[in-house]
């Protein structure tokens, strides 16, 4: 019995000492890896892949090679975190303008259009959207099956059960863009973090699907919002027939929100009412 303990301890000690000795004897890490290790310590370590590179260490290696990778492949988590951003700015010797780069994701659909059939299949938006343009009445809107919810690394998305639509909490969203890529209908859009009003409809007359009507509450292209704005903050996109915003002129007066007959516009800060704070699973 005593021999087992002694043998195990002995072999463990020998292995440990061997690793220590090898570590000391080998030449030091090559320059590139040393720098990558230092950078890696300042990264969040979530390995979410939103930057486009496979994992945080690969991102650190890319940054070590070329510091401007931060601008072409931004790590959204670092961008939100003031301390991490300052540390990284110091190590990489770069200047980051957060106000210009910060983005939030918004689901451009309010749901509530109802179903034309019961969907009995794999519980995924990507699958459901391929079957006859989806089980919901509107073929352009959100299916509410949660592909975006599953991929969000910040757990910022929840599904509204009444309207069967996904809602993204702007206070938790970091704008990494993973949900944008995941949505099979491309209705999630990235808006600047300081956006004031958002337009939530994805009906696009350019992509008409024959035989399928759009939602009863969809955008009517009536231009009431455009007419209601007194600060010229709304620009009318003629091709798509939807409003677009110039946030520098918007003063959040809410005139456009009241003018819309189908409630497609909403103040960004009202997207998640303060009362119902979402609990993270």
């Amino acid at each position: 019995m005593i021999w087992i303990i002694l043998i195990l301890t002995g072999i463990g000690l020998v292995c440990g000492v061997l690793i220590f000795v090898v570590n000391k004897v080998l030449p030091p890490e090559p320059e590139a890896l040393q720098k990558a290790e230092k950078i890696n310590k300042k990264l969040p370590g979530m390995n979410c892949g939103a930057c486009g590179l496979p994992g945080c260490f690969a991102y650190a290696q890319a940054l070590a090679k070329d510091k401007n990778t931060f601008f072409s492949n931004t790590c959204a988590t670092v961008l939100q975190n003031r301390e991490m951003l300052e540390d990284l700015e110091k190590i990489l010797d770069i200047k980051v303008d957060t106000s210009a780069m910060n983005k939030r994701a918004v689901v451009c659909c309010t749901g509530g259009c109802g179903y034309i059939a019961k969907y009995d299949g794999i519980n995924s938006c990507n699958t459901a959207s391929k079957l006859l343009a989806g089980p919901k009445k509107c073929p352009y809107g959100c299916l509410g099956l949660g592909d975006c919810l599953n991929i969000c690394p910040q757990h910022a998305i929840r599904i509204d059960k009444d309207m069967n639509v996904a809602v993204i909490d702007p206070s938790k969203c970091i704008g990494c863009g993973l949900c944008v890529k995941e949505c099979p209908r491309n209705i999630i859009k990235l808006v600047p973090a300081d956006a004031k009003v958002v337009f939530r409809c994805s009906y696009d007359s350019l992509r008409d699907i024959p035989g399928r009507e759009k939602c009863d509450y969809g955008c009517l292209h009536c231009r009431q919002c455009f007419k209601a704005c007194e600060n010229e903050a709304i620009v009318w996109n003629k091709e798509k027939a939807i409003p677009e915003f110039d946030y520098s002129k918007c003063n959040e007066c809410g005139a456009c929100i009241e003018a819309c007959p189908h409630n497609k516009l909403i103040l960004f800060k009202d997207l998640i009412p303060k009362k119902e704070k979402v609990k993270v699973k």
């Binding site: 087992i4 043998i7 072999i11 292995c15 690793i19 090898v22 570590n23 080998l26």
Partner: protein
């Protein structure tokens, strides 16, 4: 000498670790997409198998058997293999960056690779001496590399062809592996 050659051929082809014993399937499916990656992985695994076999057979002969604690061999082998792989990874990281980047996650994966533990336990079960263990590990490693190279060659070719969309990637790889295993049963019963 005859005995050694027999052991070598048996471990490499007749009792091939991947195809006949189904050990080490993770790197088999994960690294076999490109031929160059497959070769580097095979060499790394062979190296680890050789060192692990040498160390574990020495420990078995001089420590475990004299003190009648052969039943501890699984725990002790895992300890030794984990340390060995850590050392190999350190060595590759410090000396050859491109190889380190090419292997990526697979180097630490060799630690938990059942093929390496499998070969050491096979050596213990068959009661091989130290020299026989090393030869058997060499055979095992070379057999692993052989099958990995064959698989990556086939997969590279298949990628160029027209596979049904739902079969692309892993599904067709499994089917290829099954056909390869079927082919290798032709060697069974030999020796």
């Amino acid at each position: 000498m005859n005995n050694l050659i027999t052991i070598f051929v048996v471990m490499a082809i007749v009792n091939n670790l991947v195809i006949s014993k189904f050990l080490g399937l993770c790197p088999f499916f994960g690294v076999s997409k490109k031929l160059s990656n497959a070769v580097s992985m095979g060499i790394a695994v062979t190296l680890v198998m050789l060192l692990a076999s040498l160390a574990t057979s020495i420990i078995n002969q001089f420590i475990l058997i004299p003190y009648n604690v052969e039943f501890m061999n699984i725990v002790i082998y895992i300890l030794v293999i984990a340390s060995l792989v850590q050392i190999v990874e350190l060595a590759i990281r410090r000396t050859n960056i491109s190889l380190y980047n090419a292997l990526g996650i697979y180097l630490p994966l060799i630690t938990t690779n059942c093929a390496v533990l499998g070969i050491t336990l096979i050596n213990a079960n068959e009661g091989y001496s130290i020299l026989e263990s090393v030869v058997s590990a060499l055979g095992g490693g070379i057999g692993f590399t052989l099958v990995l190279v064959i698989m990556s060659g086939i997969r590279e070719k298949i990628d160029l062809g027209e596979t049904p969309r739902s079969m692309r990637g892993l599904p067709i790889a499994f089917i290829i592996a099954a056909l390869l295993a079927l082919a290798f049963t032709g060697f069974s019963g030999m020796m």
